[in-house]
């Protein structure tokens, strides 16, 4: 990464190389003590004017290049919205249901606008924006893509509509230590869980720290987060407490769901949570190797899954999500894939394999499905977010 000092020195060196010299202008004035331009001063002024024209031309060319770059970045966005042909699942020749869209390794893979059309990067040095260990992903309102990154101890705020990016880690006097889960509420506030700081922190859309959600000691190791629009509550998976704790957005603890165990409604190291449009809560009970389902009131409905390496089993279940059609998606970090189940827990398909190519994973973790059925999967060890598209039957 270019340092800021190096960037500035490069810029100054480049300006000097154009021949732009302030002393030349002063020399022209100094040579006119009686108000008349001497031959020397006139020659100096002509030379200075020529230099300024050259400099203006170069600046204009740089602006055109930056604009062209912006246009090319817009093309990347279109690629994200418009599925590219190539990878589909299932791959046995049957009708495709999941389509690979894109991989996001840094905000620069999107259309994120750089300040001053990239001139700031030239001056200050290009910042390292690449994801380190993307852990959880969430697409908030107005295309605000949020990615937790424990490797960089920050949350990547990628405002795809305003084309702005920032890495958020500040908590007032402190900083994030291990951001894990992320979600947003109906008002657009961003919630980030930090498993080391044992709390959930609230940010506004611009990444400004608002407050800590709960008093210290309320949570033991918060991990997965989900917001239930129907109930207006925030669901926090407290891993060590083996519970899902329910809060109002103001931090009031409403209740806790589950207790440690393997029975119905019991949880064993819950890591991820998801709330669908109907308010149904899905919880990944990692060491029960199952997905537990609760109604909006917290009553146990069902669970599915068992440990094993056969299709439909779980070995290391991680993120869970549902699409608009009600299918349940469960990421498995050992399988390097996500499996798709129907609402009764029957396996429908599996997507992904081990590797670093398109549609492949290396220890995937979080998953998010937006209202357009785009599937975002945090691919930890590949340092990227992979985006898929659920292909509805009518659009096939």
């Amino acid at each position: 990464m270019m340092s800021r000092t190096a960037g500035l020195s490069n810029l100054l060196r480049w300006v000097r190389s154009t021949g732009f010299r302030l002393p030349a202008k002063r020399q022209a004035k100094a040579c006119t003590p009686n108000g008349c331009l001497s031959i020397c001063g006139r020659m100096g002024r002509i030379a200075a004017t020529r230099r300024r024209r050259v400099l203006a031309g170069l600046i204009g060319a740089a602006g055109l290049i930056a604009l062209a770059t912006q246009c090319s970045q817009v093309q990347v966005v279109n690629t994200l919205n418009r599925p590219a042909a190539g990878l589909f699942w299932p791959q046995d020749g049957s009708a495709p249901r999941v389509r690979f869209l894109s991989s996001i390794r840094s905000p620069d893979d999107l259309f994120v606008r750089r300040n001053w059309f990239g001139l700031a990067d030239v001056v200050a040095g290009k910042a390292d924006r690449a994801f380190s260990v993307p852990f959880d992903v969430h697409m908030g309102r107005d295309d605000l893509l949020l990615v937790t990154d424990p490797g960089k101890c920050c949350v990547h705020f990628i405002d795809m509509r305003a084309r702005r990016y920032q890495a958020v880690s500040g908590l007032g006097q402190a900083t994030l230590q291990q951001p894990i889960g992320v979600t947003t509420d109906a008002g657009g506030l961003v919630y980030v869980s930090d498993s080391l700081l044992e709390n959930v922190f609230v940010f506004d859309r611009q990444g400004r720290f608002v407050r800590a959600l709960t008093p210290p000691g309320t949570l033991k190791r918060p991990a997965g987060l989900a917001y239930g629009a129907r109930t207006g509550c925030l669901y926090v998976a407290d891993v060590i407490a083996h519970q899902v704790k329910v809060f109002r957005p103001d931090g009031t603890l409403v209740g806790a769901i589950g207790s440690r165990g393997a029975g119905p409604g019991q949880l064993n190291y819950p890591t991820h949570v998801w709330v669908d449009d109907k308010g149904v809560l899905y919880v990944t009970s990692s060491l029960n190797f199952s997905i537990s389902v609760f109604d909006p009131s917290g009553n146990f409905l069902a669970s599915f899954g068992k440990e094993g390496d056969a299709p439909g089993y779980f070995t290391r279940p991680k993120g869970v999500a549902t699409d608009r059609a009600g299918h349940i998606y469960v990421v498995d970090a050992i399988f390097d894939a996500f499996q798709i189940f129907n609402d009764r827990g029957a396996l429908l398909a599996a997507v992904g394999s081990s590797g670093s190519g398109d549609g492949e994973f290396w220890l995937p973790a979080g998953i998010f499905i937006d209202s357009r059925n785009r599937i975002f999967v945090a691919d930890q060890q590949n340092h990227r977010i992979e985006v898929f598209q659920y292909v509805e039957e009518a659009t096939r």
Binding site: W89, P90, Q91, D92, S94, A95, R97, V133, F135, P150, G151, Q178, I180, S195, R221, A223, G224, V239, Y269, T271, S286, L287, N288, F289, E307, G308, D309, A310, P311, T315, R316, A325, G326, H327, A333, I334, F335, D336, A337, Q339, I340, N342, A346, L347, L348, A349, A350, V351, G352, S353, S354, G359, L363, A365, Q380, Q381
Partner: protein, 546 residues
């Protein structure tokens, strides 16, 4: 709602790969009956086991199960292959932040070497920990999710490996196979032999009531026990260390002694550094002698000084001294003090202070010869502590000269150094300052002017109130005498002849630790050419007999 193809080739291939890796590398007998009857750490289909040992699931133990790859009936623990269960990815599949996440410490900073051959240590292979390919250290050498206990064998029974007698609390101990504390049955001792019983060669450990300094606690340092005490992890950390020696702090952090000074503070009992201690963080090249003679550094300016045995003096990358330049905390061959060289003959000091110790051998300032019973402020004689340490000690010195003799007289600071011996009650009582002594209150400007007219390297030093050589100051004993030089004409001091007149260390105007010969130079230096005849008989014995 319904998918037409409930199962994709991609997932199938992924599972084939995963299963193949597990089967190839796991290496466990799949006899279900044996698994149920085995003792501790035997194969089990309990979720706690199968979450890593996937092939231990009951489904695989059913008759008629078809394997995707042929099962190999040797055991990974003994076969020397790193099983799929012990790969870092298997650990990270859970320890990725939801349970705990130590990846930052694994990836950042200096790490204990892995996949390194144990034969480099030139000692017998450890018997209490497994090795990869029978000689390489790997993650499983130190870590196990099973906690301390006998290792499983191919038959599922405990082996004869030494069972740890120390209780290891797994939480917070990173699932270590044995306790990472010094002792005969410890994890570190398996490869790094620690002879804690002799206290020779290694830093002292134990001291169960010794609290962990907060500076080390902030760097993930650990006490030997829960109550306190010094252990391996008090100073070292195997992962995420900031320094190549896997230490928690550098030797010269914060322009002090760094890691050592965290415990060896000024007032740390008899092991404290004291107010006046030998400097660290300085270059031996910038060293100046105790007198005002500018010295060009060790061995005439050698930036890489060597001990007399040929070993290089350990310095920092930019050539500065650390505590480890003199001390070897793990491989010292010198009893007491963990020193790299013996201090008894002055060779340790002579490495960086050439020409100061050798000329003293056998001279009047070699207290091993002339005052073998006299003790320094540390309570040791010159025979016990060495020739240099009779007058200078590197730690807990009395002043900036690191003076080690007890204070006996009154006067200026620099004079009191000499008076600590050359006074009544001192070991040099036969060589006392007489009643006719050069006045110290002189025109200092005149002295400096006279000195500057001559060769600066031969200037007669004057001293400030604290006893340090100064541009302007007082005339003191070392102004005329150089305690490290018996005779000015001899670059190397010959042994003092034991004649009747020199038995007590007396000399004459040609030696007597004078900086210059008194017959023609030493007076002239300050008093001009006229002093040659004016003070001609000043040092004559006839003058004192009158």
């Amino acid at each position: 709602m319904n998918f037409e193809a409930p199962w994709g080739h991609g997932m199938r291939a992924a599972l084939r790969v995963a299963l193949a890796a597990v089967l190839l590398c796991c290496g466990r007998t799949l006899d279900a009956g044996q698994a149920r009857t085995s003792p501790t750490l035997a194969m089990s289909s309990a979720p706690e086991c199968t979450q890593c040992h996937l092939v231990w699931l009951d489904d695989f133990a059913q008759p008629g199960v078809e394997w995707l790859v042929p099962y190999q009936r040797d055991e990974s623990f003994r076969s020397g292959r790193e099983g799929a269960e012990s790969t870092d990815l298997m650990c990270y599949s859970c320890h990725d932040g939801y349970v705990a996440d130590s990846r930052a410490r694994i990836r950042l900073g200096y790490q204990h070497p892995v996949l390194a051959s144990i034969t480099l240590l030139k000692r017998p292979k450890p018997k209490g920990v497994p090795l990869l390919r029978e000689e390489e250290v790997y993650c499983g050498t130190c870590h196990t999710p099973h906690g301390p206990g006998p290792m499983p064998s191919a038959a599922g029974r405990a082996t004869s490996a030494p069972a740890p007698t120390q209780t290891v609390k797994l939480e917070g101990n990173a699932f270590l196979r044995l306790a990472a504390r010094p002792g005969p049955i410890s994890l570190c001792d398996q490869c790094h032999e620690y002879t804690s019983t002799t206290l020779v060669g290694n830093h002292r450990v134990g001291l169960s009531d010794f609290p962990l300094p907060p500076e080390l606690a902030r760097q993930h340092g650990r006490s030997d026990t829960e109550k306190g005490g010094i252990g391996c992890q008090t100073c070292h950390t195997p992962h995420g260390a900031r320094y190549p020696s896997l230490t928690l702090l550098g030797e010269t952090d914060s322009s002090t002694a760094g890691l050592c000074a965290v415990c060896h503070k000024e007032d740390f009992s008899k092991y404290g550094l004291g107010r006046f201690s030998h400097p660290v963080g300085v270059s031996p090249m910038a060293m100046r002698g105790p007198d005002d003679r500018a010295t060009a550094g060790p061995a005439g300016g050698n930036p890489k000084p060597k001990f007399p045995n040929g070993e290089l003096v350990p310095l920092t990358g930019d050539g500065r001294m650390t505590c480890l330049s003199c001390h070897d905390v793990h491989d010292s061959r010198v009893p007491g003090g963990l020193l790299r060289q013996t201090p008894l003959d002055g060779s340790l000091c002579e490495t960086c202070h050439p020409g100061l110790a050798d000329p003293l051998q056998g001279s009047g300032h070699d207290l091993r010869v002339w005052a073998p019973e006299a003790k320094n402020i540390a309570g040791k004689t010159a025979v016990q502590s060495g020739m240099c340490s009779a007058c200078h000690i590197p730690h807990k010195g009395r002043n900036v000269s690191l003076w080690a003799r007890p204070d006996r007289g009154a006067g200026r600071a620099v004079d009191r150094l000499c008076l600590s011996c050359h006074s009544s009650g001192g070991p040099a009582v036969t060589v006392l300052r007489g009643p006719m002594t050069h006045d110290s209150e002189v025109n200092k400007t005149l002295i400096r002017l006279r000195a500057e007219k001559t060769d600066p390297s031969l200037a007669m030093p004057v001293y400030d109130d604290e006893g340090r050589p100064a541009e302007r100051g007082f005339i003191a004993c070392p102004t005329c005498h150089n305690p490290h030089q018996w005779a000015p004409d001899a670059g190397h001091l010959p042994p003092l002849p034991k004649t009747a007149s020199t038995q007590a260390g007396h000399g004459d105007s040609l030696n007597s630790f004078l900086r210059r010969r008194s017959d023609e130079q030493i007076c002239k230096h300050c008093h001009g050419i006229q002093s040659l005849w004016r003070y001609k008989y000043f040092h004559s014995s006839l003058r004192f007999e009158k």
